[in-house]
C-alpha cells in the first residue's frame, strides 16, 4: 500500500481525503447554484466545474496561514480551501448583506476576503496578476517569506497585463506563482484561435522563469508543481509560470449557451476525465476511500449546502443606503 503517489508527495491519507472533500464541496456548491439560477432564485452563476483539481491541488500546496491569493472568478475550490465557507458562497450568490466578498456588491465568483488574504478581484480579466506581483514585491521588501499565487484563464493570458506582470516579476525575482487554468475555451473562442503557439507555459522561457505544464485533472500533479514553485519562491529564487490543462464542463456562465460553439460529444469526451471521477478512482484504488465513506461525505456535503442555501436565502439584503458607502475611507 505504501508508495502511493500522494505518499511520495508527503501527503497523508487524511490530507488527500480532505482534498477530495473540498473538490466535491466545490462541485456541489456549484451545481446547487445552477439549480438556483434555473429556478430563478439567483441571477448569475459562473462555474468551477472541471477545474476543481487545479484549485484544490494548488491551495493545498500553499501555506494557508500566510500565503496570498489573487484568484479569478472560477476559483471556488481554492477559496474554500483557504477558509471560505459554503455559507459565504451562498450569501454571495444571493447577493446578501453578509456576503464576505463584497456585501452583495459584486457578482458571485468575485472573491475577496481579508480574513484569508484573498485580495478582492474584479471582472476585467488579468488585472489581478499585477496585484499578485505587488504583494510579492511587498513580501520581498519586508523580507517576509510569503508567496502570492494568482490564477487566470488561457484566454486572459493574452492580455497585456500578463506580459507586464511576468516581466516585472522576472526582473525583480519575486515570490509569485502565475497559474493558468487552461480550460480550452474563452467563452466561445477555442484555444487555437486565442493563443499563438498553443502553450501558455512555453511563454515562461521568455521571462527567464520555469514554465511548467501539468495535468489539471489531477490534483496531485498540480500540488507537486505548485509546491515546487512555492518552495522556489520562498527560497528567493523567483517566480514560476504553471499551466494546468483542464476542460470547462459547463457553459461559460449562466448567460451562455455552449451548444452554439462546441459539440455535445466533445463535452462528453471531456467528462470522462472529470477530475472528481478520476480522483475518486485514485482514492479508491489507494484504499484511502471506499463507497461508504464517499456516500457519507456526499451526505454531509449535501446537508452543508442545504443549510448554507437556506441561510443565505433568508438572510437580509443590504440596505439601499449601502449603495452610497465606502467610496472613500470614512
Amino acid at each position: 500500500m505504501a508508495n502511493e503517489r500522494h505518499d511520495e508527495l508527503g501527503l497523508s491519507d487524511e490530507q488527500v481525503l480532505d482534498m477530495y472533500r473540498y473538490m466535491l464541496l466545490a462541485r456541489k456548491i456549484d451545481e446547487r447554484m445552477w439549480l438556483l439560477n434555473r429556478a430563478g432564485k439567483i441571477p448569475f452563476v459562473i462555474s468551477c466545474q472541471g477545474q476543481e483539481a487545479i484549485q484544490v491541488g494548488a491551495a493545498f500546496a500553499l501555506d494557508r496561514d500566510k500565503d496570498w491569493l489573487c484568484p479569478y472568478y472560477r476559483d471556488l475550490g481554492m477559496v474554500l480551501v483557504f477558509g471560505q465557507s459554503s455559507k459565504d458562497q451562498m450569501l454571495s450568490a444571493f447577493a446578501k448583506a453578509e456576503d464576505p466578498n463584497s456585501g452583495g456588491r459584486q457578482m458571485p465568483g468575485h472573491y475577496g476576503d481579508r480574513r484569508f488574504r484573498i485580495v478582492s478581484g474584479s471582472s476585467p480579466v488579468t488585472t489581478q496578476l499585477l496585484h499578485a506581483v505587488g504583494v510579492a514585491l511587498a513580501a520581498k521588501m519586508e523580507k517576509k517569506d510569503h508567496v502570492a499565487l494568482t490564477t487566470f484563464g488561457e484566454g486572459s493570458s493574452n492580455q497585456g497585463d500578463f506580459h507586464e506582470g511576468l516581466n516585472f516579476a522576472g526582473v525583480h525575482n519575486l515570490p509569485v506563482i502565475f497559474m493558468c487554468e487552461n480550460n480550452k475555451y474563452a467563452i466561445s473562442v477555442p484555444v487555437e484561435k486565442q493563443l499563438a503557439g498553443g502553450s501558455v507555459a512555453a511563454r515562461a522561457q521568455g521571462y527567464g522563469m520555469p514554465g511548467v505544464q501539468v495535468d489539471g485533472n489531477d490534483p496531485l500533479n498540480v500540488f507537486e508543481a505548485v509546491k515546487a514553485a512555492a518552495d522556489q519562491a520562498r527560497r528567493g529564487e523567483g517566480p514560476t509560470l504553471i499551466e494546468a490543462s483542464s476542460y470547462r464542463l459547463v457553459p461559460h456562465s449562466s448567460d451562455d449557451d455552449d451548444r452554439t460553439y462546441r459539440r455535445a460529444e466533445e463535452v462528453e469526451e471531456a467528462r470522462k476525465k472529470d477530475p472528481l471521477v478520476q480522483f475518486k478512482a485514485y482514492l479508491m484504488d489507494a484504499g484511502v476511500m471506499d463507497e461508504e465513506k464517499e456516500s457519507a461525505l456526499n451526505k454531509e456535503i449535501a446537508q452543508e449546502v442545504d443549510e448554507a442555501t437556506e441561510y443565505a436565502e433568508k438572510a437580509p439584503y443590504p440596505d439601499p443606503e449601502q449603495t452610497h458607502t465606502h467610496v472613500y475611507a470614512e
Binding site: 471582472s123 476585467p124 467563452i187 448567460d255 449603495t323
Partner: protein, 327 residues
C-alpha cells in the same frame, strides 16, 4: 414600417453595410461563431465568413490597435468591446492613437473605425457589466461619440458611423437591447451624426437626455401630462459633436432644464451641457439648470436593492421634473 428591437437594429446595420462595402468587417471577442454574447453579430459569420467576422483573442488593446492599423490602410473595421467596462485596456489606443491620428499627421492619415460597446445597467451586471463610460471619452477631441436610444436611431447612426471618416465610439445601452422596439424604414436611410432630435414637444420643462434614461423621460412626460405639466424632451443622440443649436432651442422652449443621464453625476456629460447652457442661454433661464444622474459611487452594485438605488427610473425622473416645474 417593420418594428424591430434595438439590438436587431444593430445587426441590420452591420449586415447591410457589410453587403454594401467589402471593406467593412467586424472583429471582437465571441463575435463570430457565437454571434456575440448579446447576439448583435448573429448570422454574420454565416453570411460573410470568418475573414470578415473575426473572433479575436481576448485583448481589447489589440482589438482597437489592429482596427486602427486596418483603417489607416483603408479598411472599415467595426470593433466590438464585449462590455463597455472592458474598453479600459484599450484607452491608450483610442485616446493616444485613434483620436490623434488625423491631427498629428496634419491630415495625411486618418482612421475611420467604429468601436461598438454595450454600456449601462439595470441588468444585474454589477460593477463591471453596468458602467456608463462615455465621460472618459467626451473630452477627447478627435473622437465622435454616439449614444442612440431607439432602433431607428441605432440603425441610422450606426450606418453613418461606419461611413464616417473619423473614429466613432458607438455606445449601445444594453438594457435597451430587447426592451426597446420601434419602427424602422425598410429602405436604406441614415441618421446624421451630430444632430439631436426632439422626441416630444412641450412647454413647461425641457428634459435633455440620451440612451435608456431618454425613455424614462418619455414615460415621465406622459405621466405628467395628466397633471397638466407639459414636458419637452430632447434626445442628444450624439454627444460629440454636440448639437448645441438643438440644445439652445430646447432650452428656449421652456426656460427650465433638466439634464438626465445614468452615468455618475460628477464629471458626467451633463456638466458640459449645463455649462454650455449657462454660457449661451443664461437669460433664457427661469430656473437653475438641474441634473439628475447616477450617484457618485464607483459603479452599480449587484444586489437588487442596491442596483435599484443606483438606477434612475420613470418615477425618479417624474419627481425631478415635477419639482422643476413647480420651481
Amino acid at each position: 414600417m417593420p418594428v424591430i428591437s434595438y439590438i436587431e437594429a444593430v445587426t441590420q446595420a452591420l449586415r447591410e453595410e457589410m453587403q454594401r462595402d467589402e471593406r467593412v468587417f467586424v472583429l471582437g471577442e465571441d463575435v463570430g461563431v457565437r454571434g456575440g454574447v448579446f447576439r448583435a453579430t448573429a448570422g454574420l459569420i454565416e453570411e460573410f465568413g470568418p475573414e470578415r467576422v473575426l473572433d479575436t483573442p481576448l485583448t481589447e488593446s489589440a482589438i482597437a490597435g489592429v482596427s486602427i492599423g486596418a483603417s489607416v490602410y483603408g479598411m472599415r473595421p467595426v470593433a466590438e468591446m464585449q462590455f463597455a467596462d472592458f474598453i479600459m485596456p484599450a484607452v491608450n489606443q483610442i485616446v493616444s492613437e485613434a483620436a490623434k491620428m488625423r491631427y498629428r499627421s496634419n491630415n495625411s492619415w486618418h482612421c475611420p473605425l467604429v468601436i461598438r460597446a454595450p454600456y449601462g445597467g439595470g441588468v444585474h451586471g454589477a460593477l463591471y457589466h453596468s458602467q456608463s463610460v462615455e465621460k472618459i471619452f467626451t473630452g477627447v477631441p478627435g473622437l465622435k461619440i454616439v449614444t442612440p436610444s431607439t432602433p431607428h436611431d441605432v440603425k441610422g447612426l450606426l450606418i453613418s458611423a461606419i461611413r464616417d471618416e473619423d473614429p466613432v465610439l458607438f455606445f449601445e445601452h444594453k438594457r435597451c437591447y430587447r426592451l426597446i422596439k420601434g419602427e424602422v424604414p425598410e429602405e436604406e436611410y441614415t441618421v446624421p451624426i451630430g444632430k439631436a432630435e426632439v422626441k416630444r414637444e412641450g412647454t413647461d420643462v425641457t428634459v435633455i437626455s440620451y440612451g435608456l434614461t431618454l425613455h424614462f423621460a418619455l414615460k415621465a412626460a406622459e405621466e405628467l401630462e395628466k397633471e397638466g405639466i407639459s414636458v419637452h424632451v430632447l434626445d442628444l443622440r450624439t454627444l460629440i459633436p454636440l448639437d448645441k443649436e438643438a440644445v439652445l432651442e430646447a432650452v428656449a422652449k421652456t426656460g427650465k432644464v433638466l439634464i438626465i443621464h445614468e452615468d455618475n453625476l460628477t464629471g458626467g456629460f451633463g456638466g458640459e451641457v449645463s455649462a454650455i447652457i449657462s454660457e449661451q442661454a443664461f437669460f433664457e433661464l427661469d430656473a437653475p439648470v438641474r441634473r439628475l444622474a447616477g450617484p457618485d459611487v464607483p459603479a452599480m452594485p449587484y444586489s437588487p436593492p442596491l442596483e435599484k438605488e443606483f438606477m434612475l427610473n420613470p418615477e425618479k425622473v417624474t419627481n425631478a421634473i415635477r419639482e422643476l416645474a413647480e420651481f
